[in-house]
Amino acid sequence: MKQKSWHINRREFIRGGGAVLALPLLQGMSWGKAAAGKALPKRMVVSYIAYGVYEPKTKDGSHHDWNWWPCKDAGPLTFNQSATPFAPLKNSVSYLRGLDHAGGLGMGGHSSGDVFATGANMSGTEKTNNISVDQLAAKVNGHQTRYASLVLGTEGGTGAYGSAKTLSHYGPGRPIPSMHRPQEIFNRLFNPYAGKGIEQVRADLKREASVLDLMMEDSRRLQSRLGKEDQQKMEEYLDSIRALEKRVERTSQWTHQPLPNVDTKGLNLEVSHKDPEEYTRCMYDLLYLAFQTDSTRFATLMLESEQSSGSEMWNYANYVLGYKGATHDIAHKRPTESGKWDNWRAKQHAYFLERLRNTPEGDSNMLDQTAVVWGSAHPHASHSTKNYPIQVAGGNALGFKHGNLHSFEGEKKVPLANLFVSMLNAVDTPTKKFADSTGEMTEIRP
């Protein structure tokens, strides 16, 4: 197979770790000016913060400095203390107020995170969760990269009903376990053959394909012997085998493409939850590197999950702010700790957005080619499941218009899923309806 010019670019030395990374080096391997006429990648990220955000009111009716929302009224953005980190990104971010998933309403404040990226009606008509927005895009366009999607979290796995540890779902009832160990993520992305020679890898894949083939045959035979209802049930197993076959096929094809040579220098892959800032940035860096090397274009990142009492996330606020109590509790306290906590989270997210923006791509930069949602599935201390805090960033080159706070409150109410429809269409995944959507969100993507 003939190599495309951009693949050669990918082979250039890439270094991880934001601080260490020098710009000139980056330019050497970025997407050249519409390199060889090839279209630039269109990407999507959904990231999640838990326990809602701080939304205090002031007595005199002015906007509170520690309110998560950067300004009080709909219109052009100004940035209060909480949202300061996004001030330099003004023309790349929008805030959307008044959005939520109808499907999460009945789930209770700490459970609606399950459906943040899916909009599934789990408390009503659907018994299980459903396909997430990133996976729908991956289904259509995932074949263009080595990995169809990247599913990250900070606790790993799938979590249980009502306390998901992943945002991504392959389809009804089929959550995709998130990866949370930086070293493991790095290896899966950039060292997938685990040191084996390419010939050995191909031989292994060929064998795996033959075995899967036989498994498929056997399962089909079993299916034909089942009752009608049960045949349908077995279909999901066959579907999984088929998906694995496709993965093997795809991995084989990609063995003909050189792996990007990514150095771990500057990346602390052994970082622990004890250092929340370094850990969070490491996750963002890995995501950045995956995009940078065009290893994938669709990703979710569950920065925090609800009900994390079993993990170190529970102590994050303690490590970051010296707050004496569980991270969850901070959401229920009035004073500025909550605002400072939001501000810390904003800093980390802004760090990621800025890395994307500082990386040239085509005529603009990576951020312009990447639509990023950042938010939570409940607004504030009372665990309500309405009016999520939602920020959308990037994707300017994909048709997004930023710089404003939009209100969808009251009569202007539309489902959050409308945003997903717009995002899907922006990444070449033609979509008319997603979950309970009623149309596109023309306010930010005319």
């Binding site: 299980t128 249980a160 012997r225 209802e229 999984s240 004890k274 079993g310 009372s382």
Partner: protein, 850 residues
Amino acid sequence: MLNPKFLKFFLSVATLPLLILLGVGEVNAGTSFKKDVAPFFEAYCVKCHGPDKSKGKISLHTLDGDLAAGRELERWEDILEMLESGEMPPEDEAQPNEAERMIIADWINRGLHDYVKKASKVAVATTTRRLTNFEYQNTMRDLLGFELELTKDLPIDPDKPYHFNNTAQMMMIGPDQLVRYKEAARKAMASAIVDLGKPKIHRFSSKWEHGKSGKGGLSQAEIGVYQGPGVGRKTVGLKSWPQTGEFRIRVKASGNFPPGFKEVPLRLVMGTSLRHDSGAGIYQEVGTVHLRNTSDNPEEFEFRGRIENIPVQPASKHRNKILPPSITITAQNIFDNGELNDHRKSGFDASWSVQAPRVILESLEFEAPVAEVWPPEHHTRILFESPLRNTKTGEYAYEVIKRFMTRAFRRPVAKDEVDHFYRIYKIYDAEFDTLEQAMRETLAMVLISPQFLYHAVIDDAAATKQYVLASRLSYFLWGSMPDKELFDLAASGKLNDPAVIETQTRRLLADKRAVGFVENFTSQWLSIAKMKTVNINRDLFPRFLYTVHLGERRGQEQLFRPTIRDYMHEETVGFVGELIRNNASVMNIVDSSFAYLNEPLAVHYGVGGVEGLKLRAVPIKPGHRLGGLLTQGSVLVGNSTGSAPHPIYRAVWLREAILGDKVKPPPAEVPALSDSVGDSADEAVSIKNLLALHRNKESCYDCHVRLDPWGIPFERYSAIGKYQPLVPKDKVRVRGFNHKADKTFADYQAYLKSIYTEEVDATSRVPHGPAVDGMMKLKKYLLKERKDEIAENVIRRLMTYSIGRELTYRDRFEVKKLLKLAEEDGYKLQDMIVSVCQSSIFTGTKSKEE
């Protein structure tokens, strides 16, 4: 409005349709939808459930009344249940008289029955479902012959409060899950099939001298209950261990008992080093011994486990030094008399380490792999000894695969199935040098095949059905594959005999594998898992959890030891287990003459004379205010806020778990309790008043008027599950416990006295029932008027769990039959389980009455 007599009469009427069903008599054959049913709905229901309003999203005016057409029968069953229970119409609406009600209920009941009879051949709901993680883990254990932790990396089963996680519809498999299954299967086979040739044995030992004095007034060999910011311990670091295999640890230990103490528990855990200061560390429990011998008579104790299950501390860099991977064995003194937090300024402190009994640990020896025979039994179970192995390797491999598949698929396998996996074997055989390697890969594929991963009924042949039944029994009562006896019975075709089912059910329940069933079933049925994550207000309840009193985790719960909440979980599971074991009446779940306790629990509840950590049945008196499930910590803590009782959670629990009602979650438009009554979070408004305010909202009223009364009688039981008849005064914000001001135990009690000053009001009138004041009266009422509902609920729960699907109107008549049997039998729980296993729903045969 209230008329208990009427209710009682009505309840007896409600059993009439059952009599009809059993052929006792025919009544009201002339009832018709048009003439009777539709006008009844018009008169009593349509006002709220009709074209204008459809409360609870239910409307009746569109029902067409032709039950024989088989449409909307679930709705008809719901209506029937409302009429039977008398829950609808609500008390403040016009009520039909008993005769009217009976006519309608009977008409629906007969319509349903006729349809079920006629349509019983039509395929029922999906029954094919994958193994739950619980079943997967147990099946692997019994298939391989040793316990390997395999489900850690599998996606968690979809848990839903008050539902079982084995419901067929929800049990799905996606590609990522399949990948994880494959990893687990390969891991299992890597352990099960060993490489030939004697392995290298890894040994390590440590000694401590009891004669020499050590730190803090203890000897060098002694472990006190407390050390630094955590539980007292001794550690041994392992530098080398095999990749796979069984390990053995031998310890020489005894106890040092201050006057008044007779027993001290020694627990061994293994994993990373446990950092009590920062809270980091993961471990696997190896075992616990309860020492009663003294140092003049040290005894040797042996622990065993699989090395694969032990978390390893990965290699790390420390000041330019590379530290290799390691495993730490931690020996702990987990003594707990329930009072370690008492009489202390904050948390429990070092003085306990001399005042409480100590473990004397003189030596510890580690050895792995244990190789009394090599290759081990679990290897030869798969790669059995045979001369064929070297002469006709192909034939041998075929037989190996066939034997393994037969056990893995829980039934005899067809030739084409074996041929198929033999072909897979040939692919691997070409690639690998040894039979062991090729067989590991091949059998791993057997373990990701749908025949292994799913419960599936492949055809209707009588021979297959016997094996299906064998699996049903074993997965119900063990959560695992059938054993040899069940297989043999299935092979001989005797298993569907009701007498054989009875013998087998009782045998399975008596086996230690049934412990897993009781635990899994009970915790899901009663939805008690959430109890462990309720955030306990340590300002109000400073002595409930053992807290760390120094260091960076000061004030937080002590880690790495069993806690009172673990014991509460065991209490509930053990209680239900005790009822099954003794074939006691299921009504014990409402009230009983015993509690299931150990010392910390007994101290918590105020029951005297219970010593040691082992839980057991303890006789109780009315003055203890215990008995049954309703007053158990797991229920009360799980359904509290951590600061206060939560009567709504408790009401929902009672109705769902005990009475078997389905309580709908609050609709989305309804504000939360505190929002609807204004900014009350900072002031303590008595919960009764809070609820009253909440009910004033029209949107909340309809549901809460039927819900709240069930939770109010729990009000004398605190957020930590203790009897506590006093509460803070209305509209007063209580001060938190202050360990500087409230130093001693007496100060603590004075503190409690100062905040809990008002008699709590625990009186409410249950819907369609009498006024009930407190727990005792509530229990009395339930046992007097609600026995049938309680028994039917337990039958339905057992049935649902046993077949892995929700019950529908089709199952109604079989359930009623079992209820009748149970009633005649005095509601004995073990008998109830037997009758579930004999039922037509479980065995998949048709009931005789149909």
